[in-house]
Amino acid sequence: MAYLSGALEDERDFPTLLDIKAAFGFIPNFFRAQTLRPDLIDAEVGLIGTILLKEGALTRRQKEYIFLVCSADNLSTYCVTAHCEIVRMLGIEGPEPEQVALDHTVTNIPTAEKALLDFAVKLNNRPREVSRLDIDALREYGFGDEHILEAVIMVGLAKFANFVSFGLGTVPDFDSSRVARQLGLEPVSDQPEKEMNLPFGNFTLIDEGRVVSPVSVIDDDADLVERTRAGELDAFDELVRRHQQRIYRTLMAITRNPDDAEDGIQNVFLKAFQHIGGFQGASKFVTWLTRIAINEGVERLRTRKDVDSLDEQGSENDAPFRPRDISAWGGNPEEMYSQTELRHKVEQELLKLPAKYRVAVMLRDLEQFTTEETAEVLKIGVPALKSRLLRGRLMLREALAPSLGRRVANV
């Protein structure tokens, strides 16, 4: 099923299609939609064979995951459903492929593979922002030039397949009901004309019995964002209620000034409301909102000519931080101090940390963003973020040790 009529009267006329049928047990719509030009199918199958199937530096699993995260990022239902099934058919061990497509950052795949997929998503989604730093970051994870080349080509292949699928209106045919169930989606129509208007092909989110068009299938705020866009101001009030504490803390992390932070909240939400129409759902709403808060905080620092910049030079290359106070903490600080006392100590010492460490620790450990989300919000690579986190955490521990460690140890 597709927009164009094919010319497939007898598949035995097309040897390549027979091979495809032998591999999958049927002829997928992706190829069926191109039967007007069997030579194009031949060329594509050759391309797929060389790039995806042929053994190279990357494993098939890594290549399939790159294909999945890019296809999900491009909202290509056809390619996501097809390759989730293909990963299963191949018996590739690892997390459920739907989970990789939805949010690879929360899966238990190795950190290096997550970094590879982060890079793939960035190249897919923000190609002009890719720089030599991204390549160097991959090298730090042990990827060589051949790995990186293959990853880049795989992103290109995913884009190619996604766009061909969109352009030809191919309807998912890889047991999509199973994939849909796993994604919390329900098939709503078998009419291609309706399907293709939805961001996730022929699926739509079912939320408490109500059908909504999704911004992002992994975002708890997607429904409220959609309703705000549709003019429901109450939905935006709820987004404010949900996130204003977080935005206040982010502004405190940047400015260290309660008045600036309090004033800034309003600007952040007004800017978010003004620009919510342009929010594409490529990241979670809260990530996008936090980025606005960081810009607001930095702008306030500039206005008051604060020198405590977030981008001090050279810190990632600083000598490793060595703890000086290495005495054991003999008990739990929570049993020795009241909640108020602990909060006071934490706030006091967090604000003394240099800006880049303070912000990293506050976003990761106080706000509970994942490592990848924190890196995304700060627009730095994961290795740089990890370096800041390590140092920031150790500095904070060292600062708290004289009061928490000794008193606890002496009990």
Partner: protein, 88 residues
Amino acid sequence: MFSCEDVLAELSDYLDDELSDSLRKQVEAHMSHCRTCRAVYDSTRKTLRIVTESGSFELSEDVSSRVASSIRAKIRAKQAGPSGTSGS
């Protein structure tokens, strides 16, 4: 065999459970016989737990409801304004 410096370099990832199996095993093997690294690990873990559970930098209910009301009023005033902007 991991040194204390190796363990320190991996400590943050170890705390976040973001190490590969083989690195995690090496960190744990070192800590099983190194009291210093174990002490640093334990106190850093406690530090992070305190930070996470501290409820630091929380707006009071009064302030948060005042700020939310102000945002609410400004957005509605803007929507009702002569240009009738939709916000998108």
